[in-house]
């Protein structure tokens, strides 16, 4: 597992000691937010949760629930959160493409990260299952964007 993936893992598991240690390391190395692994992990988690039904109603409720469970629900904008899930599922809903295109990759990662946390919590993944999800995301990332 790559360092970026381990960093994300620490966040999702709320292992703040490891998270702080990686923060320090990444900052000293001048590395930024690992948007790629966040995006691909979000993609895999969204597929697992919603791909079978692609029910807009369920997605809207999921985002509303995620917002309600975070103290700063307003950091998780509903419209953008829903649009990102629709996009991952290729659901042709009005305005989705424009909303997603208007997000810069950092803000996109912030929203995806919060939703990913919720998806992982809802699924009650064991450590092994979470590792499996993250490794699958890592493999997809490499497959689609091989490092030259």
């Amino acid at each position: 597992m790559e360092e970026e993936t381990k960093f994300l893992r620490a966040l999702l598991r709320q292992d703040w000691e490891t998270y702080d240690s990686f923060t320090e390391k990444f900052q000293s190395e001048g590395k930024g937010t690992p948007v790629a692994i966040i995006g691909y992990s979000f993609f895999v988690a969204v597929q697992r949760r919603f791909a079978e039904n692609k029910d807009a109603r369920e997605i809207i409720r999921f985002v509303a629930d995620a917002r309600a469970r975070l103290l700063e629900g307003r950091e998780l904008p509903a419209k953008e959160g829903e649009a990102l899930i629709y996009a991952m599922l290729d659901m042709d809903m009005p305005g989705v493409e424009e909303i997603v295109e208007d997000l810069n990759v950092g803000v996109m990662a912030e929203i995806q990260g919060q939703l990913l946390f919720r998806l992982v919590e809802d699924a009650e993944l064991t450590d092994e299952q979470l590792d499996e999800l993250l490794l699958e995301a890592e493999a997809l990332l490499h497959e689609n964007h091989p490092v030259e």
Partner: protein, 214 residues
Amino acid sequence: MSSGSVGDVIAVLRQILDDLDGAAVAATTAQKSAAAGTRHYQTATEGADSSHATAARTQASEAAAKSGKIARLIAEAAAEISHYANHIAPGSVPTRTSATGGMLSGEALAKPSHKKGSLAAKALGRVGQVRSSDDGLQHFGKLGGILQDAAKGSGGTAVSKTPDFSFQPTHQPSASVGDALLAALAVAIVGAKGVELMSRMRRRTRNDDTKEKG
């Protein structure tokens, strides 16, 4: 005028959500039936140069589109009500996805992939190309802060598995439902502001601590 508590208001909102659920299911079923009907009409009337056949195809297609739109609008209405209920009393509207909340097992799921040119491919293409954003870890730090704050707010875990349905009424017992709604909305707004202010203060404290350490 009838009197009632905020709890009564939430109960009414939940009932409305249940009703909307039923309506959305009906609209979705209608959309699927109409879409299937369109395909059957197309198969049955393929090559037919008849105004009746054309009208049947057009109308079935229109019915599918409109019932799909109705389903979407109902879902949006339900989401707004859900947001409102949770704004008045956070966590008061439970997730309706508990039955399907778990992720599918690996066996039940084909390996996820995205088609070239699809919405998913475009979004993933952008992040895949840059790998990491050039932000000095700002966004990831913010993400960590959000989850840490949520953990502190709920006593150690970022979110509770079971939504907490209890909340303090924010009105006098004799207040009407309308009064309760207004009072709850006012508190919700002030509360949201308060949360934002607290969050800013926490972030500032954290930053100050970091600076001192550095």
